[in-house]
């Protein structure tokens, strides 16, 4: 038996198929992963993400510390509740984890890091924090849900304190606020609008039950993965890890190069690759033949070289298989993927594949 979130009984109540995820007993789906996927694109779904690790940092020099710890620059965070997506790099420029940082005050920030990387992240953060006299406080007592979809905020607003509704609905994307015992942020991992809500574990079942009562569909990790793949949002451990630079994982946009005086960990290593012509491309692939792209399949670019699918799967929205892949440098828009000994045709496409319910690939074309 793995660790259980405060919502485990809710999952059983909704007939979840429970799977192990990084030591946690988590819902894979509650019957149909595809229906859950479509519910989020069309209306609203809720995910239990209580397994994710919430870490609060405090101290007089916490900002200086974060400007060293991560590749993006927390100086961009000027207003209360503002969030920043970033990578935490090792000295070689490899990605230790990706995370979201919330600005709570000049001396307080909140980090949300991945569940599967919890131990190494906490060890790394504590080690790097020592010279800055920053308190590193894991908030294991908090649960967390993600309510996602075009109707998510409207429906979820009925499940928070009435006195906070207007302010919560007025939150701009990538902003958060404390609403009583809840911390509500307009963020997510699906390519849809919505909220992620952190709360004391004892409040989580009440909020979850309320969301289901107002028509939000419970969704498992399966749908979470197909939704994030369509949105072309990276999954740590799959699309990037400690051996991969953010420059080769489609994450250049998360690196703040200016000011050049800011010496974040890993800067030297990735600066050397910054303008290199032979960096691998990180691209989206659309399968033109029948079949399904899967992680680790070999991609062949004729006359250029080979690469690998980092995340492959089926897109319920496009009704076609899609993938993210790391491929050799070069100017090309077609490749082949080896699937069970056959070479299938893929098109290199601009990501995201889907955003706010709309397919972004023009044209998708017919199956060959």
């Amino acid at each position: 038996m793995g660790s259980r979130t405060p919502l485990f009984d809710q999952h059983i109540e909704s007939n979840a198929r429970i799977v192990d995820f990084g030591g946690w007993d988590m819902p894979l789906h509650y019957g149909s992963q595809k229906e859950e996927h479509h519910a989020v694109r069309a209306r609203a779904g809720v995910f239990d993400v209580s397994h994710m690790t919430i870490v609060d940092l405090s101290g007089e020099r916490v900002r200086d510390f974060l400007q060293t710890l991560v590749a993006n620059d927390v100086a961009k965070l000027k207003d209360y509740g503002k969030a920043l997506y970033t990578c935490m790099l090792n000295a070689d420029g490899g990605v230790i984890d990706d995370l979201i940082i919330y600005y709570l005050s000049e001396t307080d920030y909140r980090l949300i890091v991945n569940a599967a990387t919890r131990d190494k992240d906490l060890a790394w953060i504590r080690k790097q924090a020592a010279p800055y006299d920053v308190a590193v406080n894991e908030r294991a007592e908090l649960g967390m849900v993600a309510v996602q979809g075009p109707k998510a905020r409207e429906l979820a607003a009925g499940c928070i304190g009435a006195e906070y509704r207007d302010a919560a609905l007025a939150l701009k994307p990538f902003n958060g606020m404390q609403a009583g015992t809840l911390f509500i942020a307009r963020t997510g991992y699906t390519g849809e609008d919505g909220w992620e809500i952190c709360m004391p574990a004892e409040d989580a079942p009440k909020v979850w039950d309320c969301l289901l009562a107002v028509g939000v569909v419970p969704c498992g990790l399966g749908a979470r993965d197909t939704l994030r793949l369509e949105a072309a949002m990276n999954l740590y451990g799959t699309d990037m890890d400690e051996t991969v630079s953010p420059l080769e994982a489609g994450l250049s946009w998360t690196i703040a190069w200016e000011p050049s005086s800011r010496k974040f960990i890993g800067r030297g290593a990735i600066e050397a690759q910054r303008n290199a012509a032979d960096n691998q491309r990180f691209v989206g692939l659309l399968l033109e033949d029948r079949g399904v792209l899967r992680n680790h399949q070999k991609v062949v670019v004729e006359g250029i070289g080979e690469g690998e699918i980092t995340s492959g799967g089926f897109s319920p929205t496009i009704d076609r298989s899609i993938g993210l892949a790391r491929l050799p440098a070069g100017d090309y828009d077609r490749a082949k993927v080896e699937v069970r000994g056959k070479l299938l045709n893929v098109r290199v496409v601009k990501t995201p594949f889907v955003r706010n319910g709309e397919i972004q690939i023009e044209p998708v074309g017919e199956i060959q």
């Binding site: 198929r17 894979l28 789906h29 149909s32 992963q33 595809k34 399966g222 197909t226 029948r290 079949g291 399904v292 899967r294 799967g313 089926f314 319920p316 298989s321 069970r340």
Partner: protein
């Protein structure tokens, strides 16, 4: 709890087979198998006329989650494949013992029933698995 049709034979690889009146055999995957795989999105079928051997890979079913081989429960020739699965693989989810059939075969030998599982034996087998 999945229901197991009593007239079928089962394998430990979660295939079922039904002996038809004309001596042919229809093959599919069990309700337990489709449920474990989740929503099916693609089925790779063998060619009609192809000879397959017992326990050999015969088809591939792919769900949102993973790809899984379907093994031939017996040796024989493929007489027909369920073409409708190309456009509607979810027939396997909705009706695994009916519209979700995968192939019809002409067995090359008489069927060794002792090598197969009865409905009760298969039920016992899946009850003993970690779901």
């Amino acid at each position: 709890m999945s229901e197991l049709p009593g007239e079928l034979l089962y394998t430990r690889d979660h295939e079922w087979l039904r002996r038809e009146d004309d001596g042919s055999v229809t093959v599919g995957i069990t309700d337990h198998a489709q449920s474990a795989l989740g929503d099916l999105v693609y089925v790779e079928l063998p060619d009609v006329g192809q000879e397959v051997s017992e326990a050999g890979e015969m088809a591939v079913v792919e769900s949102v989650k993973a790809a899984s081989d379907v093994y031939a429960p017996i040796s024989g020739e493929i007489l027909a494949v369920n073409e409708e699965l190309a456009d509607d693989p979810e027939k396997i989810n909705s009706d695994p013992y009916g519209d979700g059939w995968i192939v019809r075969m002409n067995p090359s030998d008489s069927i060794d029933e002792d090598a197969m599982l009865s409905p009760d034996d298969y039920q016992e087998f899946i009850d003993g698995l970690d779901d």
